[in-house]
């Protein structure tokens, strides 16, 4: 196969393709496209099911009939207060300030990632390694926030099988967290490889850019999740 040209600044051969683009990059974009469908299904399921459960914990403050309140287990009854008018008021379980903080951490990780890509594509290995490390740390911090949130919810009595909100919430955010975890491992492998004698080879900029596409996708999925799950009380 003919080598169409060397990648700018890296001397890496780019094979001629019928699309005129690198097939590996095309593969990543197609994968991300399929991931859009995956997360759209999970988000839709969450939006449909989270407003249908009859027993707390609820995502947002809600009122329930007093007969439902009287039938609650002690594990979740503490979340509600008898209003004396035939209804009980249950407080919401979502902690917006904590999740907002983790959202800013993930946004920062996207900045760090794009700066790592810039360093890799402009022949600045120390810049690339430093920002790659910052991205990894931000990803781990985000996962820490998620573990904290899950633990808090479990202590409040919300589990995967507690109600429909719990089931759809844990599946949706759990899959997103898994993607973040995979991304952290991916970036760690890139960082570790960059310390080898030959680094990531002649296509360093390309490899880091592909990793960056995956990482930014994880960020844009969270942008949607944060809005529809945490900010809009449907």
């Amino acid at each position: 196969m003919a080598h169409a040209q060397a990648a700018a600044g890296h001397g890496a051969p780019v094979h001629a393709t019928s699309t005129g683009t690198d097939n590996r990059k095309l593969l990543m974009w197609l994968f991300l496209g399929s991931e859009c469908l995956f997360f759209a299904s999970l988000i839709a399921s969450h939006l449909v099911y989270r407003s249908r459960q009859l027993v707390p914990p609820f995502p947002f403050e809600s009122e329930i009939p007093i007969d439902v309140y009287n039938g609650l287990s002690e594990t979740v009854k503490h979340m509600c207060e008898d209003l004396g008018n035939g209804f009980a008021d249950c407080h919401g379980i979502l902690d917006i300030p904590v999740t907002s903080t983790s959202t800013f951490v993930l946004l920062f990780s996207s900045l760090a990632m794009v700066l790592a890509v810039y360093g890799a594509q402009n022949g600045r290995p120390m810049m690339m390694k430093g920002w790659l490390l910052a991205t990894i740390i931000a990803g781990v911090v985000f996962l820490g926030f998620q573990v904290y949130e899950f633990r808090l919810f479990a202590m409040e009595g919300l589990g995967l099988s507690t109600n429909q909100f719990g089931a759809s919430f844990f599946v949706l955010t759990g899959f997103h967290g898994t993607h973040v975890g995979v991304g952290v491992l991916y970036l760690m492998s890139m960082l570790a490889a960059s310390f080898r004698r030959n680094g990531l080879g002649p296509e360093t900029g390309f490899h880091i850019e592909i990793a960056g596409l995956y990482w930014h996708f994880v960020d844009i999925v969270w942008i949607i999740i944060f809005t529809v799950v945490y900010l809009i009380p449907v």
Partner: protein
């Protein structure tokens, strides 16, 4: 700006990336502020969805370099994205009919 070759430098410079990050942060703060205003469910949706879409678009176009890359990648991503949006709406429409009816009744 160049298009679509392997490992090629394209996009913005670091200072511009920081500006983009500041814009994303400000939009997120605006979203948070709106969520505390006590707007109704429909009002929040109308206010927050465009802001969320704006952040989504900024990250895809500038951080993921889709604006500077081959238009072929844009087609490969936007096609499934549109399909995903339709799937989202269809599932909500199918599964959330009662919820939507009560939402409209209460607004």
């Amino acid at each position: 700006m160049a298009h679509g070759h392997s490992g090629e430098a394209h996009g913005l410079n670091p200072r511009q990336y920081v500006i983009v990050f500041v814009v994303l942060t400000v939009v997120t703060i605006i979203e948070l502020a709106i969520s505390y205003t006590g707007l109704g469910k429909v009002g929040l949706m109308v206010a927050l969805f465009p802001l969320s879409a704006l952040k989504f678009g900024i990250v895809v176009a500038l951080f993921m370099h889709l604006r500077f890359d081959s238009p072929f990648f844009t087609k490969m991503f936007v096609g499934p994205l549109v399909l995903a949006s339709l799937v989202l709406l269809a599932l909500i429409g199918l599964g959330g009919y009662d919820a939507a009816r009560s939402l409209l009744a209460s607004s």
